[in-house]
Point group: C2
Chain length 205, copies 2
DNA sequence: ATATTACTGTTAAATAAATAACAACGTTAA
DNA sequence: TTAACGTTGTTATTTATTTAACAGTAATAT
């Protein structure tokens, strides 16, 4: 398995999604410039990315969607279902859970954690909720390798360290803080306040 | 005003936030390596970024926090309050509104839009909600230049075009689609499904 | 005074990413 | 059969971003 860059992985996910949609529409082949347009990238970049995963299309018919999907999935997606945990079941946490609930993907949020007793031992959006104290036990038991942090700013660093203890390797962090963690843990920040500032900045230019 | 890269703007926002927090704690000076650690970047990169905005610290005392804040704000933040709209007041939309409500920033969500009559003409998290049909009128009236899209996938492109019509220049898009818009409109995608896939991928490596 | 230290600002090098250029190939039309 | 076309895959070029190197500077200690 080649080592794909962060940006490439991101784009491959986009292609994968667009290809799934195309497949549903009944399309079986597509040219790079068509797919590129849907994905919002240049055709060259798309071909370059596809080169990286070892799939080849035909100059005559373009890419065969089902085959391309297989190739991308082979690189990106785990063969078995991947379990994810979420910490923090407030407004945002529940919205995220609802967002992912029902998607028939191979990534599923299967455990929630909160300190609020009202939420513990309930099922929310198809996901069972535990006490914060159970993080390590449950994550290890379910072999959870990725987690979502949706707790307030002040708790985020502490939770991140707990998750790290529990063997988590990747974190999607919604809290507006830069988590300080070992480099071996992959962190993706979805910092809404920050992003909105950035958007506002470029909207003014 | 210099032309700062996307990445630089993003990091400057982080520095700004950390500096605000430091100021609240009563600190008045800080060295690049200290701030860099809090921001999760290298000290060199921080100094490089700061160079770009024309502020200078002292080799002896480091950066003077209040002055540095002013310099960053001068580059990044609008002098007057910047109004933002949100389209789509579902679970996610309301969570976003709640998230931003009460933050004493100069960016404020002041208008919500939805097609659900139940939500129209109500105030949610301090933000008045209008019908989708009012997008152009309200955005122009309040000089709104940035918007958040939190509608389902299938509506996103249509809404984006409406916003574009209404004079919006920047969009924070939560819908899992790549919006096709003129280059003059800045789009930042916060694609949770995609991001989680990416995190899951790197968590496996 | 003067050397030392610990920092900053800036230029230079290295790395990463995007774009362009073009050969190779199957298909179609003459 | 052969030439022309439009596409892919790949290598080269350019551009952007990060990292390193180092001179300049104020404070401190000798």
């Amino acid at each position: 398995m080649a080592d794909l860059s962060k940006k490439t992985v991101e784009r491959l996910c986009v292609y994968h999604r667009e290809l799934l949609e195309l497949e549903n529409e009944g399309t079986d082949h597509i040219f790079s410039h068509q797919l590129a347009k849907r994905a919002g990238v240049s055709p060259v970049q798309l071909r370059h990315d596809i080169m990286g995963i070892g799939y080849s299309g035909s100059p005559a018919r373009g890419y065969e969607i089902s085959e391309m999907l297989k190739s991308i999935a082979k690189q990106l997606l785990s063969t078995k279902q991947q379990n994810v945990a979420i910490v923090g079941i407030g407004n945002l946490g529940r919205a995220i859970m609802a967002y992912f609930h029902g998607r028939r993907e191979n990534i599923r949020i299967i455990a929630g954690f909160d300190s609020d007793l009202q939420k513990i031992n309930r099922t929310i959006s198809g996901c069972y909720c535990y006490s914060m104290n159970d993080i390590e036990r449950i994550c290890k038991y379910h072999k959870i390798k990725a987690a979502i942090i949706a707790v307030p700013e002040r708790e985020a660093q502490d939770i991140a360290e707990k998750l790290s203890q529990a063997g988590i390797r990747g974190i999607m962090n919604f809290a507006p803080v830069r988590l300080v963690l070992p480099d071996s843990i992959y962190v993706e920040n979805l910092d809404m306040a920050l992003t909105l500032e950035k958007v506002a900045y470029f909207a003014r230019q």
